[in-house]
Symmetry: C2
Amino acid sequence: MNDAPTAPSPAIAALMASPAYRRAADTLAAEHDRTVEDIVTLTQIPSPPFGEEQRAQAYLEMLRAHGLDDVEMDGIGNVMGIRRGTGNGPMLVVAAHLDTVFPAGTDVTVRREGTKLFAPGVGDDTRSLAVLLAYMRAMDAAGIRTQSDILFVGDVGEEGLGDLRGVRHLFTEGKYRDRIKAFITVDSPDLDTIAVGGIGSKRYRVTFRGPGGHSFGAFGIVNPMYAMAQAMVELAKTQVPAKPKTTYAATVTGGGTSINAIPNEVWMDVDLRSQSADELARLETRFQAIVQQAVETENNARDTRAGRVSAELKLVGDRPAGATDMDSDLVRLATAAITAHGFAPRHEFSSTDANIPMSLGIPAIKIGSGGTGGRAHSLEEWIDVEKTNSVQGMTAGLTTILAVAGIAP
Amino acid sequence: MNDAPTAPSPAIAALMASPAYRRAADTLAAEHDRTVEDIVTLTQIPSPPFGEEQRAQAYLEMLRAHGLDDVEMDGIGNVMGIRRGTGNGPMLVVAAHLDTVFPAGTDVTVRREGTKLFAPGVGDDTRSLAVLLAYMRAMDAAGIRTQSDILFVGDVGEEGLGDLRGVRHLFTEGKYRDRIKAFITVDSPDLDTIAVGGIGSKRYRVTFRGPGGHSFGAFGIVNPMYAMAQAMVELAKTQVPAKPKTTYAATVTGGGTSINAIPNEVWMDVDLRSQSADELARLETRFQAIVQQAVETENNARDTRAGRVSAELKLVGDRPAGATDMDSDLVRLATAAITAHGFAPRHEFSSTDANIPMSLGIPAIKIGSGGTGGRAHSLEEWIDVEKTNSVQGMTAGLTTILAVAGIAP
């Protein structure tokens, strides 16, 4: 997707020319050291998968200190507060995720080398949490009132088996679920891409069971290993579209006890993905049928008097697919705002918190928090907070938010 | 195989009527307590897989104390000695195995309850080691000189991954390899079966490797899991004869690292068996071809630019198949001798030390050591040394050996 609208936007130009905007942008630059300190403070509060409470509490206090209304932790552990607008615009969510991929006990001390900060989770996504605070201060310093209410959210469960549970809760059970009309997640430093589509995924652990027995004495009975193999072979024959990109993979396997025993249990993990919810659903249906057919094939091929082969499908991951229209205001304004700050953003599909609203038809994008970084999800993760680049990226993000939320006259 | 010659044998009748035979049989009964003590002594010397030295040394001293000639430990750890005959018969081996299935550190203390002895390895095959000593004493007490030289052997590596290495060595590298013309292994108490055939087995660990990659980003590259599955499916289609019984099984599998990564390595264990060496070789050739074909199929089905799938076949078990002719003197004499003591032995195929000579065309059988027992290969293994039954079985074995070796006039 490189069909981005790159023509200069009169709306963005007008926004950036306004005195209030200038004051806000100047504040981002003037307070950059404080933003860096917030990054360090938050990074050094561990926030492992399913263990975000400590960081969430700290961030909740920061939201409160930044003057938001209705600051609270919701039922799943997200923390949030409202920066009220004039009531003339729809509610916009600006979110960053609290969780990291790093287990409890990981050393999260930040090490500085020049303008580089090294620490697990520092860029993904702790920098964004601090940048959101900077946006609040900049708007306050500039006396900006937006048309939309902005709900700032630090959410849980974005990574891995967290399975987007924080934002899923926000949109399915949260008290604002019917009011949110646009969603921006700020995730990782990179501003060269804007995620406008969410890759959906369904992940299964499939366990095949059978009677088991001695490899020689019980020869002829059904073997769950053959049912699993049959399912893998049929999966591998599946035709999927290149566009919307749709994929499958048998990835991890195990089972059996002894080289001279027909196993009574084997398992495989399968990852199904698509840029299209329809294609993902079609692939999932086919996969389920493949598993059932493979079980039947094995039960028909060999002796079942000692027992039949069965398969248990357990859904261990579920991220919905979706996309935000390239012609939507959200994508057009974000693209123009980020382009106006010297970036040339590509539009891509990825798997982020934005998947959830996208899957519900609510316009959503993922943008970056500014600066540069690397080695995310590794213990050597780093970001560079060199001021010029860092502020340039932050300003691009603030411009996006203000363009979408609208500044009240 | 129930076509055993069960008619009374004049040769066995004549043997059993001879005064020397009577004296030998009487000695087995008279010295039964000593045999039980030997069982206890030997059982309590640990003899784990690949760790038979301590028991082998003790047994070597016992062989020497029983007056055998040329007592020695060979290059692989078997211990043996010759009881010389008149030189008018071929050399007969009478063997029992030194090793147990129990790892070092297993408590091998013998517990007695009435006439029952409980301990790991007590029946399989420690009782037999003691019974061989009783045979030597009985022949000596009766002044029996056999026509054949009898080579008594306590051998290593009968169990599991030991892969019959002791007896394999005896027949391939041992100094008597060209002289041995018949082989009797005494293995476990049971005298109701005579093993006249050896089930051959070939065991493989097959490792499939490929480039690996992200399940979404690298979709389309070859996946070693699919090659393995294809091999399993083809193996499962293989037609094998019911007679001679021939079997295969994919039994244990593993591999892969993460649910969202196409694996770079997966593996499976496969067990191939047959009563027939020819059928086993045919099955093995087909299996190797299946693996290569599955690899080719996967390399042709998907993108190999990041690397191709390959398979490594590692032979982790190799027991040759073979059979002793039902009309051979060895089978006929053993069947008649054991039947004459009130047993009704069936003839069966199994996997014992006798596989090795059978595979070389040397007449070989497995008989039992007498008494009863159960739970072999478990920590609750037991034997019953109740004297009447125990002596009856021992005498049947001695009769077999004397019938085969021949008593000099």
